[in-house]
C-alpha cells in the first residue's frame, strides 16, 4: 500500500499545522496544505491527493463552495472530500452527505483520533 496523500485546507495556519502533524505522526500519511478554497482547487488538481480535509468556515470562498468547485472539475471530482467543521451535528452531517461529501469531522478534533476517523470514513486501513 502506497502512502496516502492528504490535502488539508484551513485558513487557520495553526490548524493546518496541527492536522498535518497529527496525520503524519499517527498514520504516516503525506500531508499537503492550502490556506483558502481558491488555493485548494489549484493544489488538488496539481497534487491529486487521495483525500481532502476541508474547513467549512473560511473567508472569501467557504468550504461548501470549494467542494462544489472541486466536484465541477473533472480533474478533482473523484477525490473524496471530508469536512472539518464546528457544525458537525447529525442534521448538518445529513445535509453535507446529501451534497456528496463523504463525511464530516467535528472541531475541535481529537488529535490522536483524526487519522483513524478519516480512515474509517474512507474505508482505509492504518498500518
Amino acid at each position: 500500500m502506497t502512502t496516502k496523500r492528504i490535502l488539508v485546507v484551513d485558513n487557520e495556519q495553526y490548524i493546518q499545522e496541527i492536522a498535518q502533524i497529527c496525520l503524519q505522526t499517527v498514520a504516516n500519511w503525506h500531508v499537503v496544505t492550502a490556506s483558502s478554497g481558491r488555493e485548494a482547487l489549484v493544489v488538488a488538481e496539481a497534487q491529486q491527493p487521495d483525500a481532502i480535509l476541508l474547513d467549512v468556515m473560511m473567508p472569501e470562498m467557504d468550504g461548501l463552495t470549494t467542494f462544489q468547485k472541486l466536484q465541477d472539475n473533472s480533474a478533482t471530482q473523484h477525490i473524496p472530500v471530508l469536512l472539518l467543521t464546528a457544525k458537525a451535528q447529525a442534521s448538518d452531517l445529513r445535509r453535507y452527505t446529501d451534497l456528496g461529501v463523504r463525511g464530516a469531522i467535528a472541531k475541535p478534533f481529537e488529535p490522536l483520533e483524526l487519522a483513524h476517523q478519516v480512515a474509517q470514513i474512507l474505508g482505509w486501513s492504518i498500518l
Partner: protein, 786 residues
C-alpha cells in the same frame, strides 16, 4: 141424393133380381160348374146395395144364399137336407155379400156427400165472387190511400183512385211498371225497393216511412205497408201495397218536435242559469259568512292588540283632547286612562315644547298625509305623571269618520333603547379607538377575503391608505411576498373553512414602496351557525427588526462559536499531540506545537476578555469613571502605547492636539484611541503616515484617526462597528484582532454620549471620527502643534 123409393118396392125389386138370377143360373147350368152356384148371385147383391142401400143389399145376400143353396146344393131341395160339404161356400158367399153390401153402402154415402159438397162449393164460389167484386169496387173507390197490387217482382198489377190521387199516375200509365219508380234515386241506389219486397216475402209484412216521388217529380213523405199475398197452396202470388201521403203529418210532427226541442233547450238553459245563480248566491253567502267571522276575529284581535300593546296608543279629537288611552299609555305615562280621557294632550308633553307641539299637530292636521313619523330629525320627549321626561319615538295618523277627525299617536318610550344604544356606541367607540391606536395593524377580511377594515396602524405599517385596499383581495395588490403567497393562502383557507379558529403565522409582506416587512399575523375567524365564515380578523405585528436581530444573534452565536473554537482547536490539538508521547517535546515539531498552544491561548484570553468587556459596557455593568481630562494628555498616552507597534510596522504617527478639557473615563478613551490607531497601523502599508488629531466644535471635541490604508467599501461603513464584522473575515486571524475592537469603541463613545463613524475611499484610506461632549472647548491656537 134425390128421392128415396118406398121400401116395399125396393125389397120387391130385390126379390125380382134374385129370381132373375136364379133363372139365368138355371139356364146356364150346363155351362157353369155345379160347385160354384153363388158367383152369379153377387150381381143381385151389388145391384140391391146400389139401389136400396145396406138393408136391401143384405137381404139380397141372404135370399141369394138360401135360394142357391136350396136349388143347387141340397139334394132334396130343402135346406134341411143341406150337405155339410156345401156349408163352407155358402158361408163364404154370405160373408162376401155382407162385405159388398157394406162397401157399396159406404160408396153410396160418399157419392152423395160429394154431390152435396160440390153444390156447396159452387155456392161459396158465387158468394166469393160477389164479395171480391164488392171489395174491388170498394178499394178502387178509396181516394186517401194508394192501394195497388204488385206481382212477385214488384210490377204493378192494380191501381186505385187513391193511387192516382197520391202518385199522379193514371192506371194505364203505371200498370206493368215496377213500383221502384216511386222511390227517390238514393233509395233505389241502396236497393231499398228490393229489400222491401224481400222483407215482406219473409215476414209477410213490411212497413216503412220515407220519401216517395210523384209523377211530377215532387216528393211526399209516405207511410207504406206491403203485405205478401199467397194463393190457396201457399205460393207467393204477389204483394198488396198501401201507401199514405203523411207529408203534412210529418211536417206537423217536425214542427212539433222542433218546438219541443227548443222548449227543452230553453228549459235546460234556464235551469243551468238558475243553478249557476244559486251557486253564486251560495258562494257569496259563504264568503260573506267567512268575512264576517274574520272581521269579528280581526276586530277582537285589534281591540286586544290595541289594549295590550307595549306602545302607547293615544287618540285625540279635533280639539286635541284625549279620547283613547290604552294600557301601554298608562304604563308609559303613569296615568290611569279615566284620569286623562278628555284632558288636553299637552298633559303628556314637557311644558317647554307643548306649544310647539300643538302647532306641529295642527300642521299635520292640515296636510294631506295620512300618517307620519314624528320628529324624523330630532328626538321627541314625553312627560310622565311624575313630571319626568323621557325620550320617545312616535308616529301620528289621522282618520276622518264623517265630520269627526281623529288623530292617533303611537308612542314608544325609547329611554332603555337609547341607553343601550349609547352603551353600544360607547363600547364601539372604545373598541374603535383601540383598534385604530393599537401598535398592531388591524385588518379585517370579509367572507370573500376582501379587506373590510384597514386600521391607521395598517396604513402606517404598510404604506397603503385604507381607500386603496378596502374591498380588495390580497392577491389584487402587491401585498404578500411572492414566496409566501401559497403558505398565506393555505393559512387563510384553513381559517375560512373552520379547520382552525385562530392561528399565528409569519410571512413577508410588501410595503407600498416595495420594501419587505417580516410580519407576524395573529388571525381569528368568526363563523356563523352553518359554519360559514362571517369575518376574519388579523392583528399584524411588524417583526422585521426582531427578525434581523434574531438573524444577527444567530450569526453572532455562530461567529463567536467559531472564534472560540478556532484557538481551542489549536490548543486541544497541540497539547493532545504533546501529551500523547508520540512526539518528543524538545523536537522542532514539539516546540512548534507548544508555541501554537501558548499563542492560541493568548488569543483565546483576548477574545474572552473583549467579549466580556463589551458585554459589561453595553449592559452598564461597568460605569465610566468620568473625570476632567486634558485632551492632549489622552492623545499622548495613546500614541505612547502604540508607538512601538507603529515603529515595528514602519508607520509614522502624526498628532495634532488642542488644549481642551473633557470629562471622560480616561482609560476608556485611551482604549478607543489605541484601538483606532492599532487598526490604522494594521492596515497601513509600510512608510505610510497615520494622523491623529482633535478639534473643538461648539460643545464637543472631534477626534480623527486618518490612515492611508486600503479603505473600506461603502456598504460596510456602518456594519464594521458591529461585533465580528471585519471587512475581511480573515482579518482577525491575520492581524490578531478579535473582531470586537470597533464594537467596543462604539460602546465606549456611546457611553460618553458621543458619536463614532468612518469616512473612507477604497485604496485611498479611511478616517475614523468620534466626538465627545465638551462645555469648555476652545478652538486650537494657531500653529500649536505638539
Amino acid at each position: 141424393m134425390n128421392t128415396k123409393p118406398a121400401p116395399l118396392i125396393v125389397y120387391g125389386i130385390v126379390v125380382l133380381l134374385v129370381v132373375c138370377t136364379v133363372i139365368v143360373r138355371l139356364s146356364l147350368n150346363a155351362v157353369l160348374p155345379i160347385d160354384t152356384p153363388f158367383l152369379l148371385f153377387l150381381v143381385p147383391v151389388i145391384l140391391s146395395t146400389y139401389w136400396g142401400g145396406f138393408a136391401p143389399g143384405l137381404f139380397a145376400t141372404l135370399l141369394s144364399g138360401l135360394v142357391s143353396s136350396a136349388l143347387f146344393l141340397s139334394s132334396g131341395g130343402s135346406l134341411l137336407n143341406l150337405d155339410w160339404s156345401h156349408t163352407l161356400p155358402l158361408g163364404l158367399f154370405l160373408a162376401e155379400g155382407g162385405l159388398l153390401t157394406w162397401f157399396g153402402t159406404k160408396l153410396q154415402t160418399a157419392k152423395r156427400q160429394t154431390k152435396v159438397s160440390q153444390a156447396q162449393a159452387k155456392q161459396y164460389q158465387n158468394q166469393l165472387s160477389d164479395s171480391e167484386q164488392q171489395f174491388r169496387s170498394l178499394v178502387e173507390e178509396i181516394n186517401d190511400y194508394a192501394i195497388f197490387m204488385l206481382d212477385i217482382n214488384g210490377k204493378i198489377e192494380t191501381w186505385n183512385k187513391g193511387a192516382e190521387h197520391i202518385k199522379g199516375y193514371q192506371a194505364n200509365e203505371i200498370l206493368g211498371q215496377n213500383f221502384s219508380c216511386f222511390y227517390p234515386p238514393e233509395d233505389i241506389q241502396n236497393d231499398k225497393p228490393k229489400r222491401a219486397l224481400q222483407i215482406a216475402r219473409v215476414q209477410g209484412r213490411y212497413e216503412d216511412e220515407g220519401w216517395r216521388i210523384r209523377k211530377d217529380g215532387s216528393r211526399f213523405w209516405a207511410n207504406v205497408i206491403i203485405n205478401a199475398l199467397h194463393d190457396e197452396t201457399g205460393n207467393l202470388r204477389g204483394f198488396a201495397n198501401v201507401t199514405r201521403d203523411i207529408t203534412d203529418r210529418r211536417q206537423a210532427a217536425e214542427v212539433l218536435n222542433q218546438s219541443k226541442d227548443e222548449l227543452e233547450m230553453r228549459v235546460a238553459e234556464r235551469t243551468a242559469e238558475l243553478v249557476g245563480v244559486n251557486q253564486r248566491l251560495q258562494m257569496e253567502l259563504d264568503e260573506r259568512k267567512q268575512i264576517e267571522s274574520a272581521l269579528r276575529v280581526s276586530q277582537a284581535r285589534f281591540a286586544g292588540i290595541l289594549e295590550i300593546a307595549d306602545d302607547a296608543i293615544i287618540s285625540i279629537d279635533a280639539n286635541q283632547k284625549i279620547t283613547l288611552f290604552n294600557q301601554g299609555a298608562e304604563r308609559i305615562f303613569g296615568y290611569a286612562a279615566q284620569d286623562v280621557i278628555g284632558q288636553p294632550l299637552d298633559l303628556l308633553l314637557p311644558t317647554r315644547i307643548a306649544q310647539a307641539h300643538q302647532q306641529h299637530v295642527n300642521e299635520f292636521d292640515r296636510t294631506a298625509a295620512k300618517a307620519r313619523r314624528m320628529a324624523e330629525r330630532r328626538e321627541i320627549f314625553g312627560r310622565r305623571c311624575d313630571g319626568t321626561e323621557f325620550p320617545a319615538e312616535a308616529s301620528i295618523s289621522k282618520l276622518a269618520l264623517g265630520t269627526e277627525k281623529i288623530l292617533t299617536v303611537i308612542l314608544r318610550d325609547v329611554s332603555e333603547r337609547k341607553r343601550s344604544e349609547q352603551a353600544l356606541q360607547d363600547v364601539l367607540q372604545r373598541l374603535n379607538f383601540h383598534v385604530e391606536n393599537s401598535p398592531l395593524a388591524v385588518i379585517e377580511w370579509d367572507p370573500l377575503l376582501r379587506v373590510s377594515r384597514w386600521s391607521l396602524a395598517a396604513e402606517r405599517m404598510f404604506g397603503w391608505q385604507a381607500e386603496e385596499v378596502l374591498g380588495k383581495n390580497a392577491s389584487e395588490w402587491q401585498f404578500i411576498f411572492q414566496e409566501d403567497v401559497e403558505a398565506a393562502n393555505q393559512m387563510m383557507a384553513r381559517l375560512g373553512s373552520g379547520l382552525e379558529q385562530r392561528n399565528v403565522s409569519l410571512n413577508r409582506n410588501h410595503r407600498k414602496d416595495g420594501s419587505i416587512l417580516y410580519c407576524e399575523w395573529y388571525n381569528s375567524v368568526l363563523l356563523d351557525t352553518a359554519g360559514n365564515m362571517v369575518s376574519l380578523l388579523s392583528l399584524v405585528q411588524d417583526v422585521t427588526d426582531r427578525q434581523q436581530i434574531e438573524r444577527m444573534k444567530d450569526e453572532f452565536v455562530s461567529v463567536v462559536s467559531h472564534e472560540l473554537r478556532t484557538p481551542l482547536t489549536s490548543i486541544h490539538g497541540s497539547l493532545g499531540m504533546l501529551a500523547s508521547g508520540l512526539l518528543d517535546a524538545d523536537s522542532e515539531t514539539g516546540k512548534r506545537l507548544l508555541h501554537i498552544a501558548v499563542d492560541s491561548t493568548e488569543r483565546l484570553v483576548r477574545l474572552v476578555n473583549d467579549i466580556l468587556d463589551i458585554e459589561r459596557i453595553e449592559t452598564h455593568k461597568v460605569t465610566m469613571a468620568k473625570q476632567p481630562c486634558i485632551v492632549a494628555d489622552l492623545m499622548t498616552r495613546a500614541i505612547d502605547t502604540m508607538q512601538a507597534f507603529a515603529e515595528k510596522s514602519e508607520v509614522i504617527l502624526s498628532v495634532t492636539t488642542i488644549p481642551a478639557q473633557i470629562t471622560v473615563d480616561p482609560d476608556r478613551i485611551i482604549q478607543v484611541l489605541t484601538n483606532l490607531l492599532s487598526n490604522a497601523i494594521k492596515f497601513s502599508p509600510k512608510g505610510a503616515t497615520i494622523w491623529l488629531s482633535a478639534a473643538c466644535q461648539e460643545d464637543q471635541v472631534l477626534f480623527q484617526v486618518k490612515d492611508q490604508g486600503r479603505g473600506i467599501p461603502a456598504d460596510r461603513l456602518e456594519s464594521i462597528f458591529e461585533r465580528f464584522q471585519q471587512v475581511d473575515a480573515s482579518d482577525s486571524r491575520n492581524h490578531d484582532g478579535t473582531g470586537l475592537g470597533l464594537a467596543i469603541c462604539r460602546s465606549i463613545v456611546h457611553q460618553h454620549e458621543g458619536k463614532i463613524w468612518v469616512e473612507s475611499q477604497l485604496g485611498q484610506g479611511s478616517t475614523f471620527y468620534f466626538t465627545l461632549p465638551s462645555s469648555h472647548c476652545e478652538p486650537p491656537a494657531a500653529g500649536d502643534p505638539q
